[in-house]
Each structure stands twice: as structure tokens, then as C-alpha cells.
């Protein structure tokens, strides 16, 4: 068999003719990174030039596979490089997520880019600074120790004749310096022999640099993935089956012949799409195309009760034990009082405002893909598998899309574009329509949480037994995605787990078990209820249950919810600090819940919750009001205390916290994907509403900075405690306990009718 693979150099050269006919918001440095690719065609992490390039105009281009999903991470990473290089922040340019130009540092997920890629860039930039100083020292004929750097100019202290800028030293040329590199992806370690600055010297890291993307975003000059245009490009739209597990029995091409500019109806396996010369024609053709779909062969659960019954009664394929201490079952049976409760969390959408879009140019043995994926390298692998190309013959170029909040359809749409481009032999741009996005995005999976506790005669909790039952991510890395499955690739696994954190492991109980059980959810054909990671995946639901149950226990035992938590935090200083910081800011009024009943139709209450995710601590206090007759809850204020170790970009962290809180309120109060046995019925924003300006709460934020610590993930953890804090506040206000999200007026009214906390009756 002929080796179809090309060297990276050939590839970049070949692709160069057709790419970058659009300009990104910032011009790339004229100096291209890297001199020598590795034998597999990838960029060599052990070369300094793979990480940054200095131009004659003094700008510094940073090459990273980490991508900005709207969170401002480009700005924070630029701050890190500016800090280590001692160049003005404004001179940093970011080239991100191009598999042909960057090293694979793993996908940008879990709000953990600063934690994982931050040290990589600190070290690479520190190594570059060392090399630049060495070059200047050679030129001046003095030792490097005598030189200092300010604003990108290397100079001899006290001698103005001996100074030279980075641009004059090396601008437009390669550094040609090797650095130490070991490990891969997240675990890649760079230039470990070079010491970055001590945190006490930081000037740029820790300051609120203005986001580099916003000026272009507010003026229409920014290039979103939806704005990418190539010469000769055609427009494609997908035609998905209306129901699960349905195949096209016949596709009537006559039904679209009248549409001007129609190029082709593409059908491969179960995949159906249309390609046209204009976007408008493609949309009309997708709407008009008559497809006869087969009757669905399998049925989904017909309603939430069936879904939760399936979760409860189906054998798990993996039990992930997060905590296993003592014997909770025995301790509960011997306890003087015992409690139990079950909580439900529904399917929810990521809900991007701008539907997914990608452009693909597939040639005989080469493909170039532009898309807004979180993981350009994993998309490269998926597209290569679909096209049966060697990975090195596929180049994925990240272009930012609408904010995504977890992995979803920007990973699917490149495959749609690739299938259609291959079919027509031209570049094809595919954008999903709103109903494609709502129906087919991989959704945040539902979870069923069962919690039991035992309390001794002194009122001390002696046992905690927590079980989460949920689906894995069936659209995770390594699982064939939508178009791949439609053209016949089969999943060989169940998918990736949905995490284990948030089951009460924050608290120390003598007997304690926290387990997350995975229930199979891979169907013969892809379903609209396929799943993937949604912001703070799994932790939101698990913490809703554990932090509600803690509150129920506090109430049963007549203790203030804050004091009750502090009792069981043991020696966790950061956990204690974060709770104290939140209640201080929120002016927490001590007392047990529920608050004494008040007259009038509006009940008011406050609730608290605590979360820890990957080392970051967050406490939330919710202040809410409930209309007792309508059951409508309104969140008035959320106070967040947030500790992510060292803070790199304070305003960026606040921006992320605000966004996560608002999304958390929306998910807690409103959001639930509607479905029936055939598929998803939430197909637009009226059948899946999200929080609007009318309901956004005020948000108060306390940032705890721990500069002596390494930075941890910021933002995403702050979503986790929000639903429980709201549920606890509703209980405080009304005595009604919400154990199923979202807390709709009907559920609140039902809980009000049910009377006191069901835990009391258990």
C-alpha cells in the first residue's frame, strides 16, 4: 500500500495556498514557529521556536494548542508570557489551536488551562528570556548576570550604550535552541531546568489586563468560525432524522431540484446533507428535501419517570469509589436516627447561542478543518478516522465560535463538513440550524443521587452513604461522533465517566462512602439524548444532592446550616475560610432553617452551599424569594467566595464567576430537556428557555488570593454550589424541600403542598 502520509513541511506548504485567505483579528507574527518537525509530522515540544517567535516589530507570537472558548484564556496566557519575558503585555500575539503549528497540550477543558498549560508557558518563556539575555551578553562581550530586561530591552545596568531590544537581537529569526521536554499533553513538562520568576516579582500576572479579544468582538471585526470564508467555498446543511435510530429509506432529490444553486444531495450510510452555492439555498434545500425515514427500532425512555427508573434499576458497568471509610451501612443500621433522600438532575443543554459551524477542505489525501473545537488534536484524530487518512494528513485550525461550556457539537460539525467536502471536492462550510443544535448537541447527562446518613444520640453524624447513578459521556474522546456513526463507525466502548467529585467528600464522617456508578447509555445508533461533559460535569448534580442533604440534616438536628458544615470540615482550613468569607460578605443571619413563617404572599430565605473542584474552593450564599401562591422562585442575590490559589487575571476570574453563577441559576430554576420515546422535543429557546435579563440576580464576589500557591482552575467551580444554595434558600423561606431540578413553580408548589421536609418522614 502506498504511504499516503506527507511530511509536515510538505503539508504546510501544500495547504498554504488555500488557507488564511481570511484574516484573523490579529496578524500572525511574520516569523513562523518551528524549524524541524518530529518524524510523525508534529511540532517538536523540545524546540523553543515551537512555543514563541519574536518579530522585528518587537511583537511576540505565542504558539499554543490551548484555545480561548470565550473565557478570556488567551489574555491570561499572554499575561504569563509577558511576565516571564519582561515585554509589554500589548506586544503579545496568540496563535492558538492549529495542529500544524502548535504542540498538543491536551484539550482546553475543565477551566484548567491556567493550571495545566500555565506552567508550560512560564517555563518556555523563562527559557526564551534566558536565551535572549545570553545572546545580548555575547554581543556585548559581558556575562549575562550583569544584564537586566525591561519592556523587551536587554541592557547593562548603568551603561546606556549597552542595550538592545529583543526585536533587534533576533526579530524574524529562529532561536534554534533546544529545551528539555518530557511527558505529553497536560503532563508535558518543559524546560524544567529553567526557573521562572518568583511570584513576588510578578507585575503582569495578578493584574487585570484588558481582554485582547473584546475590541474586535464589540465592533464586528472579530473572526468567528461562522465568519470564515474560503475561495470557491460551498455551503452545506445537515438533514438529521427527526427521531432516534431512524435511517433514510429513500431520499427524493426531485424535491429540491427547483432550488437555485443546489450542488448536491449527499448521502452516505445514514448521513444526509445538502450542498449549495449559497447559504440561503442550502437552508432552503435542507428544509425542502423529502426523506422517508425508517420507523425507529429502539425507544428512549418516554418521560423523566421512566428515565430515572432506568437509572435506578439498570446494572452499573463501573462503580467509581471516591471515598470508602469504615462501614456506613452497619453504622446507619446502628444509629439512633437515620435519614435518606433521593435527588434528581435532568438532561440539560450546553445551549450555545451561535450554532456550531465548521469549514472543511478535503482533497485526495489531505484535509484542512476550521472549527471551534475544545481539542484540535482530538478533532484531528476523529476526522482522520472518518476519512481513513493518517492523522498527519489532517490539519485542524481552531477558530473561536460561540461559547460552549463543555464538549459538544463543535466536535461533530467538522465531520459533517468533511463528509460533504469529500463528496463535492470543494471546501464546504456547514452550520447547524437551531433545531439541529438543540436536538443533537451531546447533552449534560441526567443523574440520580441516593444519600443516607446515620446520627448518634448526641446528634453527631456518624455515617454518610452517597451513591450517584448516571450516564457516561457517550460522545467523549475515542467515541465515534455523529457523522462517523451515521456512515457506519461503531462505538467500541461505553464512553468516559462523568466524574466523582461533589458527593460529600469535603466533610469528614467516621463512616463514609461516596460512589459514582456508571449506567450504560450507548445505543445501536446515535440518539439525540447522547451525552457529554457539561460545565463542572457531574459535580453540579452531585453537589446539589450532597449540599441539600447536609442542609436537611442540619435542619433535622436544629443547627444553623453554616455551623453544621463547619463541624464536619475538620481541619480543612481553605474550606473553613471560604465559608467564612462568603457569610461575612453576605451578612449571613445565623439560625436554623426553615426561618419562622412570615405572613403575606412572598417568602424570603437564604441558603448556603460549599464546593471543591480540582482543588478550587467555592462557597455560595443565595438570597431568594418565593411567591407562595404561584410557586415562582426569584433569586435576588448570590454571594460567591472563590479560592483558586494564585490569581492570574482577577477581572477575568470575576467575569467567569459571574457567568457561571448566572448559568447555575438558570440550570437550577428553569432548564430541563424535554423528550419522549422518539427523541428531543426541546428544539428552540421557547421549549428550552434560559435565564433572561429579567431574572438575573445581583452577584457579590469575594476573591481569596493565595499567591504562594500554584494557580488552580477558576470560574467553572463557582457554578457547582449555586443550585444547592438556591434549594436550601427555598427551604429556608418556605419549609419546602426541592429534590428535583429545575425548581419550577409546579415543583415548588407541589413541595409546598407536601409540607415539611420529606427527610423527616423517611
Amino acid at each position: 500500500m502506498r504511504d499516503k502520509s506527507l511530511s509536515r513541511r510538505q503539508f504546510l506548504k501544500g495547504a498554504g495556498a488555500l488557507v488564511v485567505s481570511f484574516s484573523l483579528s490579529r496578524p500572525a507574527s511574520e516569523a513562523l514557529a518551528q524549524s524541524q518537525p518530529l518524524s510523525d509530522g508534529d511540532v517538536d515540544p523540545g524546540l523553543l521556536d515551537s512555543w514563541l517567535a519574536i518579530a522585528q516589530d518587537e511583537s511576540v507570537t505565542v504558539f499554543t494548542s490551548k484555545v480561548d472558548l470565550g473565557t478570556g484564556i488567551d489574555t491570561a496566557l499572554a499575561q504569563i508570557v509577558a511576565e516571564e519575558l519582561d515585554v509589554p503585555f500589548k506586544r503579545i500575539r496568540m496563535e492558538t489551536g492549529d495542529t500544524g503549528k502548535t504542540v498538543d497540550q491536551g484539550p482546553s477543558v475543565g477551566s484548567r488551562t491556567i493550571e495545566k498549560a500555565g506552567p508550560q508557558l512560564h517555563h518556555a518563556a523563562a527559557a526564551a528570556r534566558r536565551e535572549l539575555v545570553r545572546l545580548a551578553a555575547d554581543r556585548f562581550g559581558i556575562s549575562p548576570e550583569k544584564l537586566t530586561v525591561k519592556d523587551g530591552v536587554v541592557s547593562l545596568v548603568g551603561d546606556r550604550s549597552k542595550q538592545i531590544s529583543y526585536g533587534k537581537l533576533i526579530g524574524g529569526q529562529r532561536l534554534n535552541v533546544k529545551i528539555k521536554a518530557s511527558g505529553r499533553g497536560y503532563d508535558l513538562k518543559l524546560a524544567e531546568d529553567v526557573r521562572p520568576k518568583d511570584y513576588k516579582q510578578y507585575k503582569v500576572v495578578g493584574s487585570s489586563a484588558p481582554r485582547i479579544d473584546l475590541p474586535a468582538k464589540v465592533t464586528g471585526e472579530f473572526t468567528y468560525i461562522q465568519d470564515v470564508r474560503l475561495p470557491g467555498m460551498l455551503h452545506g446543511r445537515v438533514v438529521r432524522p427527526p427521531v432516534v435510530n431512524s435511517k433514510p429509506l429513500s431520499v427524493n432529490e426531485d424535491s429540491v431540484r427547483h432550488i437555485p444553486g443546489l450542488v448536491k444531495v449527499v448521502q452516505e450510510g445514514s448521513f444526509v446533507g445538502v450542498v449549495a452555492e449559497t447559504e440561503w439555498s442550502a437552508i432552503q434545500a435542507a428544509k425542502a428535501l423529502k426523506v422517508t425515514w425508517s420507523e425507529p427500532a429502539t425507544k428512549l425512555p418516554a418521560n423523566p419517570d421512566e428515565l430515572y427508573a432506568y437509572l435506578k434499576n439498570t446494572k452499573s458497568f463501573r462503580d467509581q469509589v471516591a471515598v470508602n471509610k469504615g462501614d456506613p451501612a452497619a453504622a446507619i443500621s446502628q444509629a439512633s436516627r437515620s435519614f435518606e433522600a433521593t435527588y434528581r438532575w435532568p438532561f440539560q443543554l450546553h445551549g450555545m447561542i451561535g450554532p456550531s459551524c465548521a469549514v472543511a477542505e478535503v482533497r485526495k489525501d489531505l484535509a484542512t478543518i476550521w472549527t471551534g473545537t475544545q481539542g484540535p488534536f482530538r478533532t484531528r484524530k476523529a476526522v482522520a478516522d472518518l476519512l481513513e487518512f493518517p492523522e498527519k494528513n489532517v490539519r485542524v485550525i481552531y477558530v473561536e465560535g460561540s461559547g460552549c461550556y463543555g464538549r459538544l457539537s463543535p466536535d461533530d460539525v467538522p465531520e459533517d463538513a468533511a463528509v460533504m467536502s469529500r463528496a463535492v471536492g470543494k471546501p464546504v462550510r456547514v452550520q447547524w440550524m437551531r433545531e439541529d443544535e438543540h436536538a443533537w448537541e451531546p447533552k449534560g447527562p441526567p443523574q440520580l443521587m441516593m444519600v443516607r446518613a446515620g446520627v448518634d444520640s448526641q446528634g453527631k453524624v456518624t455515617a454518610w452513604d452517597y451513591t450517584d447513578r448516571g450516564f457516561p459521556w457517550t460522545a467523549a474522546a475515542g467515541m465515534p461522533l455523529l457523522a462517523s456513526r451515521q456512515i457506519g463507525l461503531k462505538p467500541k466502548a461505553q464512553g468516559s465517566p462523568n466524574g466523582t467529585q461533589g458527593g460529600g467528600e469535603l466533610y469528614a464522617f467516621e463512616n463514609q462512602k461516596v460512589v459514582a456508578q456508571l449506567i450504560p447509555w450507548v445505543h445501536e445508533d446515535p440518539t439525540p439524548l447522547r451525552t457529554c461533559n457539561l460545565r463542572a460535569p457531574g459535580d453540579v448534580a452531585r453537589s446539589f444532592a450532597s449540599e441539600s442533604f447536609i442542609d436537611e440534616l442540619a435542619s433535622e438536628l436544629g443547627v444553623d446550616p453554616l455551623q453544621f458544615r463547619l463541624r464536619y470540615l475538620s481541619n480543612d482550613r481553605r474550606g473553613t475560610d471560604i465559608l467564612q468569607a462568603a457569610v461575612k460578605k453576605a451578612q449571613w443571619k445565623e439560625g436554623k432553617s426553615p426561618a419562622p413563617a412570615s405572613g403575606g404572599s412572598i417568602a424570603r430565605g437564604r441558603g448556603i452551599a460549599l464546593a471543591r473542584r480540582a482543588g478550587t474552593y467555592v462557597a455560595a450564599v443565595a438570597e431568594i424569594q418565593v411567591n407562595k401562591s404561584s410557586g415562582k422562585a426569584l433569586v435576588k442575590r448570590i454571594t460567591i467566595a472563590h479560592d483558586c490559589g494564585r490569581i492570574v487575571a482577577p477581572d477575568g476570574v470575576k467575569n467567569q464567576i459571574e457567568g457561571n453563577v448566572i448559568q447555575g441559576v438558570s440550570r437550577a430554576l428553569i432548564e430541563e430537556v424535554q423528550f419522549n420515546a422518539s427523541g428531543v422535543t426541546s428544539l428552540d429557546w421557547s421549549s428550552y428557555p434560559i435565564l433572561t435579563f429579567a431574572e438575573v440576580p445581583d452577584i457579590d464576589i469575594v476573591l481569596i488570593n493565595r499567591p504562594e500557591m500554584e494557580p488552580l482552575g477558576a470560574g467553572e467551580p463557582s457554578l457547582i454550589p449555586v443550585p444547592a444554595a438556591i434549594a436550601n434558600a427555598i427551604f429556608d423561606a418556605t419549609g419546602a424541600r426541592l429534590r428535583e431540578a429545575p425548581f419550577t413553580p409546579k415543583r415548588i408548589t407541589d413541595a409546598l403542598k407536601a409540607g415539611l421536609s420529606p427527610a423527616q418522614r423517611a
Partner: protein, 154 residues
């Protein structure tokens, strides 16, 4: 197909298109504008908002024939990175945005609001933007940005 004259951002232009084409696609695909964005095609989210004769309209659901000879303003018509409009400047100053996909609609709605009501309260602003969806949760910053722009103007 028909030749339709449009006045967009003060410039008269003629496009040759199917008159039932929604204005959004003409602005984006024929006139190469990027401000108005595709979000839902259902007038539900506001990402595609443009100003027509002083009022916000949803360009995803407005046939181009309706816009014939009307005064259309898009995000690009307000200002640029080099010379931002005071509202755009206020959004930058307040760092009001994350992914920014919704910001076109927010800024266009703010423009029409401030033209009518130069000194709006928070409640006025929230009311004016209630049909504009944001998923990143930049709402509070957006309200602050619009208040800042109003103060600058007043």
C-alpha cells in the same frame, strides 16, 4: 432573483438576490458584514439584530425585500476598533463580554434604547434587553456598560 437596493451603514448598495432571502444572509454573505450573527432563525435570541429606520429588527426573520430603501445600521455602522462608538467603548471599559456572540444584539438594542432614553435605570435596561439571550452570563456587565455609556452621553 431581483435587484434590490439597500442602504446599509450610510452606503447605498444593490444586491441581486431572491427577494424572500432573509436580510441576515444578504448582510453576511453578500455584503460581508460580520456584526449581525446567526443564532436561531426564529427571532428568539437577538444575535442577528440590526437597526432599521431607528428600530431594532431581527434580520434572521426579515425578508430582504422589506429592507428595500430603508436605513439599515449594523454593528459595523457604529464604530471600529480604531474608532469605537461610545457604547462599544463602554463595553470594552466594563469588559462586558465573554464569547461575545450575543454582543451585537446587546449593543444594537442599547443604541436604540439610549437614543430614546438617554438616562435609563437598571430596570429600563433589563427590560430593553429581555429578548436578547446571553449564555455566557455577561448580563450584569452589559447593564453596567450601558449605564456607563449613558453617563458619558449625558
Amino acid at each position: 432573483m431581483a435587484r434590490i437596493s439597500l442602504k446599509v451603514n450610510g452606503k447605498s448598495q444593490v444586491v441581486d438576490t431572491d427577494p424572500s432571502t432573509m436580510l441576515l444572509y444578504v448582510l453576511r454573505d453578500d455584503l460581508n458584514l460580520r456584526g449581525p450573527r446567526f443564532g436561531c432563525d426564529l427571532s428568539q435570541c437577538g444575535a442577528c439584530t440590526v437597526i432599521m429606520d431607528g428600530k431594532t429588527i431581527r434580520s434572521c426573520s426579515t425578508p430582504v425585500s422589506v429592507a428595500r430603501n430603508r436605513e439599515i445600521t449594523t454593528l459595523e455602522g457604529l464604530g471600529s476598533v480604531a474608532r469605537p462608538h461610545p457604547i462599544q467603548k463602554a463595553f470594552i471599559d466594563e469588559q462586558a463580554g465573554q464569547c461575545g456572540y450575543c454582543l451585537n444584539g446587546m449593543i444594537m438594542a442599547a443604541k436604540v434604547l439610549l437614543d430614546k432614553n438617554p438616562n435609563p435605570t437598571d430596570a429600563d435596561i433589563k427590560k430593553a434587553l429581555v429578548a436578547n439571550l446571553c449564555r455566557c452570563g455577561s448580563h450584569l456587565r452589559i447593564v453596567r456598560a450601558i449605564k456607563r455609556a449613558a453617563k458619558k452621553k449625558a
